[in-house]
């Protein structure tokens, strides 16, 4: 079976006139867990948004391939249907729409199969139990009045229900206390499998106490300055990002081929 999932090649993007991504190269295969670290403003969230197809972000160069198909021009909902999922740093509140109703609609859209109310209730209940989420959340309005931790758990719940092939988790651990971080990390572990892949974006490595990534990338100034393994994350923890800013400058003329 083909393990190849995502291939990003020389990706550049801008918002209005501001250039943010500056030539990203990245390959992600099924069964892998990638961590992208980087200082504030490096373009981490932008990368997540560009991969999902946010309308404000324009691709100015490069390609995003998903399962061998170029998805540069694909609409947001169609990307989701292909199996891409974004866990938001700041999930939107949608008053008047219950978690259950929303997720049933989303599951129907993503799976292409009508979800019966009864069967879906079971599915949701099962996933909520898996993630230790109180059943009463099903009837609450989506993210409305949720605490930061509840919103992040709800994102993981959505991921568990929608079963994407590629999940991009944007700052999933930010703003969470130790217990909440642990719960979210446990949730991610439960969903992770040989058939899917995850990219976790973070600017500190609290969550790495619980998750063991296959790859760690350092994103600075809109480019991946260095890729490595867990040791790279530990080095960043000790020394920060400063030296990678310099390296980016040193290498800024060389475009890697992919």
């Amino acid at each position: 079976m083909d393990k190849k999932l995502l291939k990003i090649c020389n990706l550049e993007s801008k918002v209005e006139e501001e250039k943010i991504l500056n030539g990203i190269n990245l390959e992600v295969n099924k069964g892998e867990l990638h961590i992208i670290m980087g200082p504030n403003g490096a373009g981490k969230s932008t990368l997540a948004n560009v991969l999902m197809g946010h309308p404000e972000h324009k691709i100015t160069n490069g390609d995003i391939e998903f399962e061998g198909e170029n998805i540069n021009q694909l609409a947001v909902d169609k990307r989701a249907k292909k199996g891409i999922f974004l866990s938001f740093q700041y999930p939107q509140e949608i008053p008047g729409v219950t978690v259950e109703n929303f997720l049933r609609t989303a599951k129907t859209a993503v799976s292409g199969e009508q979800q019966s109310i009864f069967d879906f209730k079971f599915l949701l209940e099962e996933k909520m139990n898996l993630l230790n989420i109180d059943q009463s959340y099903a009837d609450r309005y989506l993210n409305k009045g949720f605490s930061g931790g509840e919103k992040k758990k709800n994102e993981i719940l959505q991921m568990a229900v929608l079963e994407p092939k590629l999940a991009i988790l944007d700052e999933t651990d930010s703003g969470l206390d130790v217990d909440a971080t642990k719960t979210v990390a446990e949730g991610i572990k439960k969903v992770a499998s040989e058939d899917n892949a995850m990219i976790i974006i973070t600017h500190h490595n609290k969550i790495l106490d619980y998750l063991k990534p296959d790859y760690v990338h350092v994103l600075v100034d809109g480019r991946i300055a260095k890729s490595g393994n867990m040791e790279l994350a530990e080095e960043i923890e000790r020394e920060g990002f400063a030296k990678y800013k310099k390296e980016v400058l040193d290498e800024s003329n060389s475009k890697s081929n992919c």
């Binding site: 197809g53 947001v76 990307r79 989701a80 939107q92 859209a109």
Partner: protein
């Protein structure tokens, strides 16, 4: 967002043509006492009603067209007769009814006979047969429920005592016009202590020519009575005569409770200048549920007059203005007695250049000590072309009143649409979902079948089709 899908409105072009067509049939004649006499003679009315009509006509002639609110300059006021006495040929041709209207009937599952009736082209819709059983049950309880024309003759005293006492011809030009040319509508009388547990619906409105335009609804609830009246239905009522000036008068006596629900969905050529008022005595309750969808222009401000101590008014309304529509709506509440309470909850939506204007009034006289009022009006614009205003006016003549007020105007959040789309939901459905969520506090107040209709209407507005 690439591959962007457009949220299409229903095609209105056929309507536009219809408007052009109409002018060819215009009569040069104005509205004269002779025309009024003829209307009255056809209805075989008592003399006092004819006199009332003629008096109203006089007032009508002397009143100015209101200059605030909607632009109604397209209404041909000099030839108002063309709205009152339409050309019969135009009215009776099913083929002339725009396809979009027929499609909407189909989409909403309206029965064939009712479709033709709604389009103003059918033979008279036999409501008597269909709703006979319903009526019988109510008659046993002493409830009177009939069309307005018959009520004038069969319950003359009751009608004479109440008819256009709450809304008078002096109120404004269109109430005067209504007084002169009214036709059709419903009459409901519920005796003291009787609880009508089935909703009454305004099926009578199609029984007389022009009755969908100038219909009069008169409801009287005696002490401790309880009723729910549903006006209209969610199908667009198509008429080549594009002026609607109805009147609704509701008398709620001591301890009585009336729920009055409407979904107004006039075809998009209509000037809907409707007047609705409720007078609520001691411990009485009026609950308005109001949906404004159709029409080209609407000016509609249901008024609750809380005249008796502890009387209560609740208003729940949704207004949806799409392309080419200017909907100027809002609730008016007058607190004129101690410890009266009112709650106004309004949601409006504007899309494709539509304009939704919330214009509400909260008035408390010096009698209203201990009163409580809360007003919440929110509006949502789905794009940059649409407009939305809120103008909640307050006139408080007493300090001893507790007023809560909240007004919000916002645009649909692109981030929220992106969020929903990132879960595989199409742009259209994402927007519909946000809109349904926005009106949810109101939909949850509605009886189930009505909430379903509201949902269907929102889907129709947003997608041009029911999925």
């Amino acid at each position: 967002m690439n591959d962007k899908t457009e949220v299409n409105d229903i095609d209105r072009s056929l309507h536009e043509e219809k408007n052009v067509e109409k002018h060819r049939y215009q009569s040069a004649k104005g509205l004269t006492p002779e025309v009024i006499k003829e209307i009255s003679r056809e209805k075989d009315e008592p003399e006092w009603m004819l006199k009332f009509r003629l008096k109203a006509l006089k007032i009508y002639k002397n009143k100015e067209v209101p200059t605030w609110g909607a632009d109604i300059s397209d209404l041909d006021m000099d030839n108002i007769i063309t709205y009152v006495r339409p050309d019969a040929d135009l009215q009776s041709d099913w083929d002339q009814v725009p396809e979009e209207i027929k499609d909407t009937f189909d989409a909403l599952g309206i029965p064939e006979a009712e479709k033709e009736s709604l389009a103003g082209v059918g033979a008279q819709y036999d409501s008597e047969v269909v709703y006979h059983n319903l009526k019988e049950e109510m008659v046993e309880q002493g409830v009177i429920y009939m069309d307005m024309e018959n009520a004038v003759k069969q319950h003359e005293d009751l009608v004479k005592q109440h008819f256009m006492k709450l809304i008078t011809p002096n109120d404004h030009k269109f109430s005067a016009l209504h007084g002169a040319v009214w036709s059709g509508g419903s009459f409901v009388y519920v005796p003291a202590g009787v609880d009508v547990n089935i909703p009454l619906q305004s099926y009578f409105r199609q029984n007389a020519p022009g009755s969908g335009q100038f219909e009069h609804t008169l409801i009287i609830l005696e002490e401790g009575a309880n009723a729910h009246f549903i006006e209209g239905c969610s199908a667009p009522k198509y008429s080549v005569n594009n002026l609607h000036a109805g009147a609704v008068e509701l008398f709620i006596n001591k301890g009585a409770k009336l729920r009055y629900s409407t979904i107004e969905n006039w075809s998009r050529n209509m000037y809907n200048l409707n007047t609705k008022r409720a007078l609520v005595e001691e411990d009485g309750v009026i609950e308005w549920v109001s949906g404004s969808f159709g029409s080209k222009v609407s000016m509609l401000y249901p008024m609750s007059i809380l005249k008796g101590a502890r009387a209560r008014a609740e208003f729940t309304g949704v207004t949806f203005a799409a392309e080419g529509q200017y909907l100027d709506t809002g609730a008016q509440v007058i607190h004129d007695a101690p410890d009266t309470t009112s709650t106004v909850n309004s949601r409006s939506i504007a899309k494709d250049g539509g304009h939704a204007y919330y214009r509400g009034l909260l008035k408390a006289t010096k009698n209203a000590h201990g009163a409580k009022a809360s007003v919440s009006c929110e509006s949502l614009m789905l794009d940059n072309e649409s407009k939305s205003d809120t103008l909640p006016i307050m006139k408080l003549q007493t300090d001893d009143i507790d007023v809560g007020h909240e007004a919000k105007v916002g645009r649909i959040s692109e981030e929220a649409v992106f969020y929903l789309m990132s879960r595989g939901i199409s742009e259209e459905e994402a927007k519909a979902m946000i809109v349904r969520g926005f009106v949810e506090p109101i939909a949850s107040e509605l009886p189930l079948e009505y909430a379903v209709e509201l949902n269907n209407l929102i889907n129709l507005e947003l997608e041009g089709t029911i999925g």
